[in-house]
Symmetry: D3
Subunit: 130 residues, 6 copies
Amino acid sequence: MALWQKIEYEQASPAVRAVFDDIRATRSSDYINDVWKVLANDPGLLERCWSRVKTVMSAGALDPLTKELIYVAVSIANSCEYCVGTHSASARAKGMTDAQFGELLAVVGLASEMNRIVTGAQVELDERYR
Amino acid sequence: MALWQKIEYEQASPAVRAVFDDIRATRSSDYINDVWKVLANDPGLLERCWSRVKTVMSAGALDPLTKELIYVAVSIANSCEYCVGTHSASARAKGMTDAQFGELLAVVGLASEMNRIVTGAQVELDERYR
Amino acid sequence: MALWQKIEYEQASPAVRAVFDDIRATRSSDYINDVWKVLANDPGLLERCWSRVKTVMSAGALDPLTKELIYVAVSIANSCEYCVGTHSASARAKGMTDAQFGELLAVVGLASEMNRIVTGAQVELDERYR
Amino acid sequence: MALWQKIEYEQASPAVRAVFDDIRATRSSDYINDVWKVLANDPGLLERCWSRVKTVMSAGALDPLTKELIYVAVSIANSCEYCVGTHSASARAKGMTDAQFGELLAVVGLASEMNRIVTGAQVELDERYR
Amino acid sequence: MALWQKIEYEQASPAVRAVFDDIRATRSSDYINDVWKVLANDPGLLERCWSRVKTVMSAGALDPLTKELIYVAVSIANSCEYCVGTHSASARAKGMTDAQFGELLAVVGLASEMNRIVTGAQVELDERYR
Amino acid sequence: MALWQKIEYEQASPAVRAVFDDIRATRSSDYINDVWKVLANDPGLLERCWSRVKTVMSAGALDPLTKELIYVAVSIANSCEYCVGTHSASARAKGMTDAQFGELLAVVGLASEMNRIVTGAQVELDERYR
């Protein structure tokens, strides 16, 4: 049994409820992803994680969909199934098409392949890029 | 000493020269990155790698800059310094601003942090995403 | 179906039983984790793995709980769900509190974030640390 | 050449100087690690990274040295040479002995080995830990 | 629910059926692994992945079993459970014995351990290997 | 400056010299790789690492060259430049040809690509392999 179980809104402390309320308001949805219910076991950790997700993933010099694509790509490379599952759903909700998803997978696959081949071939960075 | 040394255009076989010529034409630049000179030790590997980079990284459902950002993100997560160095330069050449680079790093950092926290907290994928 | 199935004590060879007996004696518990039952398919591998776990994880210059925290941290970074599950339970059994678990996750998350940001920003090691 | 060059205190904006001043005050040292000078290219990113390092790494339910050991362990697993170099120096400054460093490496090595063996042997999490 | 569901032969487009037919012919088996049914959502990606697997994994300077062992080793290091499951079955089908599987796990484990210890101890490459 | 500096034979304790002597005898060469000189800072760690390398990498159900290829593949996937550099040299010394090295890189690259694509497409393990 995982050390931390999910904490539902009804059982939650006021500090946790405040975060859950903000998640619902920000996402315009009543649904709270399970990750937040689990992190509610440490209200400080929950609050810091959520506030950064909210800030970093919102529109800036990069648009929200591009940020989701980058987030999914990193989650794949770090082998986090939960994050791939939830953030590919977020990307889809933000407009990612099947064709874009296919190209995302193709780029992630190509980069992973070239990363390893370059490391294996022990290529040193070109003088001009140093 | 690395097993494979760089092969310059002048020393290269016709098959390798054909790839080098295509790289130059595609990039509208005489410069050949060192990775290609090293992979020239196995002309078949060189050809297959280059042709896929050319195909996968060109404009499609995702634009070339978005693809470069994803490529850089994956290369960071896979710890390939060479690839980070060369592809962040490519992204810059395709128009990436300092603000976009900062946001790229922020998203890659956030995803990596959340990937690990989710794995550590052993969060199972929500019923609705299965 | 996985190549190797669990081997229970009753089916096990004398060499495997000797390891199982030592695990039980060392841990003061009759329970044998499934990893050992699976590794019993290669008695030599089982014996070498167990003897090293026993030696490396016991008290030394670092206390056993600190070692478990480090073990869990590495298992998270390497994305081994089995190891995160069993060793976070071991850490709990050795006294890890919820507050400590929350801080463990926070440090693992922060380090992972900064590892990637530093790699992405291509920061070279300061002269003074070389 | 990396996209971002170091920004020294003298060239820095007031926002960056404020962070540099806080780093110096917190660490009771005039020295600013190069990572902060590079991140100064994005003052917001600099400020958010530093404030979290300051918060997360300070004494709490875990002591600062234990946190540094965990940080170094994760940095090794994530292959960040810069982070290994600077944080092993921080651990040393906080009292880590050679014997402790040796045991840290032994635990990180053992966990990495077992993580891979468990994944390769496809061991499923024991019923009792689910 | 994953973004992409499996596409069975009966539902598939002619382009996808052609790949499925080639997989069956190449493997002398009617069974199509689920990965191909999922990738069939992007016929171009399916075709490129399969044609490369077919080419790269066939006999060359390295025999097919050695290639499978390398493939499994990499899949373990990259934490891809699906790939470990299917390719260890392929290795078994190509003749891998239990003793060889045990040694494969031992080498993967040892390399992973030494990779981390070397990184942690910050060993620089010997002059003679540069 | 790395925490641990190299310890040369002349400065070494009798326990360390015994390991160095065994390395020389086993490899029929006077040269001691720098990794062993650095690990000599913790004679127990040195002895345990060396004895396992000696045991695991020698001929068994898999031949020594196949083991080196697997070791290099894992070191690439784990991004350990030192290990890639020294073990690709060992593989060469044991007879690895340029064509075999090229195919090793191709398999490592392909597996890394497919590992990520499978993870990204969230393919679940086929019923028949569970």
